[in-house]
Symmetry: C2
DNA sequence: TATACAAACGCAACTTTGTTGCAAAAAATA
DNA sequence: TATTTTTTGCAACAAAGTTGCGTTTGTATA
């Protein structure tokens, strides 16, 4: 199973367009998570803002990327390592570096199970750790 | 130590204004977390939007309320139970009900410790659980 | 309690962010 | 290559957030 932009799009039954390829490549060749704004900057004047919104939405729906909530009203997106086409299950911890600002998926750190009070039923758990990343130490 | 709006404002060396009192009372007498939009609705035509923005920012800075990241680009705010005037340390779990939409601080559920990869240093951990709350069961 | 000073508020104008409908352009299919 | 379907870009809009400034309100001092 290859993981070029073309392969991923094909596997998810998406038309292979230059916008999708370029945005997907930003994720494939970049290090961390990207916000809409990041993509707009990195892509330069290349695409319309609307295209970016729609492309990100499509990728989330297909399970190619997942969204990471942040405390500053700027959703970040990152590649799903596993196949999330039948519902997202990215139960790893996300790390936001307060120095470089990068958001990193700690794929190897799984979210620990927690015991909720009576009557609460959990369907998804997000864990976001802030601090200093290994590059900025 | 009292916890009326006036007391809290006084304790934090903030002028006691009617806007601050009303917004603070929404938190004191409400059940869950509130977004900027919630406050705007609940307060009716009472204050200017700008005042709400500035008041929330002041409260966060003073450690009276803390912000809760969400996946839909709408930061929620909730009262800090402890005194967070010297840095926030609200290490409890937040629950977002997918039915009623309420965000609830599970004060009794503490965030379990996690082991980060080498070189990462954690300063704050957020844990957001989505699902169905005890009222909506 | 009246006055002076400082802080907070409200307004207006603006910037940024996100959404929707539709015609043109580009992919997929035959 | 021709036809159909999907995606894109544009325009216009709606919502969210910011900034500067004059006016009002709260606080401190006499």
């Amino acid at each position: 199973m290859q993981n070029t932009a073309d392969d991923i799009l094909k596997r998810n039954q998406l038309s292979i367009t230059s916008s999708r390829k370029k945005i997907l490549n930003l994720f494939l060749h970049g290090t961390g998570a990207l916000s809409h704004g990041d993509i707009e900057k990195k892509a330069g004047e290349k695409f319309d803002r609307v295209t970016i919104y729609r492309t990100l939405q499509t990728f989330v729906d297909k399970g190619i990327i997942h969204s990471i909530p942040t405390a500053d009203n700027s959703i970040h997106y990152a590649l799903c390592k596993d196949d999330c086409s039948s519902g997202h299950h990215d139960n790893h911890v996300h790390f936001i570096c307060s120095n470089c600002g990068n958001t990193i998926c700690l794929e190897d750190v799984t979210v620990p199970p927690i015991k909720l009070p009576k009557g609460f039923i959990s369907s998804q758990v997000e864990m976001i750790v802030s601090g200093v990343c290994s590059h900025c130490m």
